[in-house]
Symmetry: C2
Subunit: 210 residues, 2 copies
Amino acid sequence: MAYRKTPAELERLEAARERLVDQATQVVAEVGWANASVTAVAAAAGIAAGSVYQHFPSKAALAVEVFRRASGREAEVLSEVLHGDGDPVERLTDGVRVFARRALERPGLAYALLAAPAEPALGAERLEFRRRYHELFAEVVREGTAAGLLPPQDARVTAAALTGAVGEVLVDPLGTPAGGSDGAVADLLAELTAMTLRCTGAQHPTTPGV
Amino acid sequence: MAYRKTPAELERLEAARERLVDQATQVVAEVGWANASVTAVAAAAGIAAGSVYQHFPSKAALAVEVFRRASGREAEVLSEVLHGDGDPVERLTDGVRVFARRALERPGLAYALLAAPAEPALGAERLEFRRRYHELFAEVVREGTAAGLLPPQDARVTAAALTGAVGEVLVDPLGTPAGGSDGAVADLLAELTAMTLRCTGAQHPTTPGV
DNA sequence: GTCTATACCTAGATAGAC
DNA sequence: GTCTATCTAGGTATAGAC
């Protein structure tokens, strides 16, 4: 009985925890938060229901971890694109396009993160992440205004509006089983970027890109 | 024992049901769906918990009724404004302004209807009402395009974007206890209408109105 | 450390008295 | 028709064997 766990033990534990979070994410994407019981999640991860509590103190804690993990990834991707190359307006449309495309590729997960009914704890978490999106968008809007590419405006309002607008436009396609296959996705992305440009007050579409 | 209830009886029942729905709405606005237990709602309506089931077959049915009632009112008000006088762009900004002002006047209820975590049944209901908003907005956007006031665009996407944008912009103020007192509300409304105009691509602000 | 079996708790729903 | 008291189900969390 060692007083400290060996590195190998820690690694195994960590791996099991990872697997649990991954599988829970999968289950949530498939059946939603409401039906993702501890039993179902544990079964998916190949462990017993009771063993979940070796890794998380409560179901809510696991749910929060799942949400943070997945939402964090999206926020990071968005952040990278928004801080990338090109003028602010280009980056904004690129960001929206990438965000939307990723959502449409994993509709179940995106729906769970963006809109699906969930416990209060997750509601709070969602609100926090939406604020993070607000900040990311607001920063770029301010840059655009400073560069004279966008008219004067309250960047926070525009950023919140963009967040809500993109989410709302996506929810319907995400809800319908086959969110739209081939060209429908391209059309939707084009309309989304056009809306983004209008919403910020950009005068000329800069990149008519894919 | 009459085979049919007398008109007086029916009226009394109907009144009790009304009172129950009203009080349930009140409770939901105050404590949210999660904490609006059958017991709490019944207490507010001055009846016993068991008696709730004289009027509704289940808690979910009552919740849906509460949601439909309240959301229906807002949709009607919005519809009236959008179908009122003036050019399409004016009506659009008026609609957004009225919707937002009403929400800010009843923050608890608005938050419950727009964003608060709720059971799956209500999630579906919410989605349905958001579609109703989409349609209302889309119609006016199409009119605006037809009148040459707005550039060509997919009205459904713009309408969904407006719905999401307005909701998202409102959620933060609605969440904070004193949503903003005096001039803050006016500023927010002004920014919202400006955003609405940009989002639809309207070139010149038509009514700088209150 | 992981499983099996079970305790427990909350909240919705019901039965029967008045 | 309404209340009180009770039942029940479902799912989280835990105890103890292996």
